[in-house]
């Protein structure tokens, strides 16, 4: 026989359900970033993340990621992460031999948070840029 449904179990259940949209933890974000950098230390610079610091609508936020490779190498890939989204990965872009190292798109932001761009160069060095964004109307919840 299953245990009786008490007020306590109901409350525990309700809290678990209402606890709401999953959010990535900083550890998960670091793990996702480590996957693309293969553990290389991230240095600031060489990559630029263009993103408004105040946005009204988190459902469509314009971003541009561009990179400037150091002399003697080229940009292999660009990556974007949103720390507090349910899934912190936004995109992974491999730059082909015919491409220029920049990409603009529109993204969803679940809440005010830090957005991180990472550029991986062909020589294996990894660079990053971060912008902290205030979001008035969050995405994902409507």
């Amino acid at each position: 026989m299953s245990p009786p449904v008490t007020r306590r179990t109901m409350l525990a259940f309700a809290t678990a359900v209402v606890a709401g949209p999953a959010m990535a933890t900083p550890v998960e974000v670091a793990a996702e970033i480590a996957k693309v950098t293969r553990g290389t230390v991230l240095k600031p610079g060489q990559v630029k993340l263009d993103l408004a610091q105040m946005v009204e609508n988190g459902n469509a936020v314009g971003v541009t990621v561009s990179a400037e490779p150091p002399a003697g190498t080229r940009v292999a890939s660009l990556h974007l992460f949103a720390e507090q989204n349910p899934n912190p990965e936004v995109f992974h872009a491999t730059i082909g031999p015919a491409g220029l190292p920049r990409l603009a798109t529109r993204i969803r932001l679940a809440t005010s948070q830090q957005v991180i761009a990472v550029a991986v160069m062909e020589d294996g060095t990894c660079w990053s840029d971060a912008v902290t964004v205030m979001v008035t109307l969050a995405a994902c919840l409507e």
Partner: protein, 105 residues
């Protein structure tokens, strides 16, 4: 999927070919619930690729954080006249291709 593709008709050699594409797609993020409380399954464009004269410009892995009706803007260095080809696929396995021809002068 309806598509708006903007590629310049003519570009000078060595300059950037700016490619802008807007794809009509709900990009269902898999987090929303419908009226009955059921999770609406994820349905997004998850892969995108662009080539210029058959050479790769960009290969993208996309995640649910890309806004509905995805807009992408990127560039290739103009070398010779030829096609810019775009390929993408969504979670339902629907594939689409778009082509625009650029004249390099």
């Amino acid at each position: 999927m309806r598509v708006l593709l903007n590629v310049p008709k003519q570009v000078k050699r060595g300059e950037a070919i700016e490619v802008k594409v807007l794809i009509s797609h709900p990009m269902e993020n898999g987090q929303r619930r419908d009226e009955s409380g059921q999770v609406v399954p994820r349905q997004i464009i998850n892969a995108f690729r662009a080539t210029y004269n058959g050479i790769e410009v960009l290969r993208l892995a996309l995640h649910p954080a890309i806004a509905a009706n995805p807009f992408l803007s990127f560039a290739a260095r103009a070398e010779a006249s030829g096609p810019i080809e775009l390929f993408w696929e969504d979670d339902a396995g629907v594939k689409q291709t778009e082509t625009a021809v650029v004249e390099v002068v």
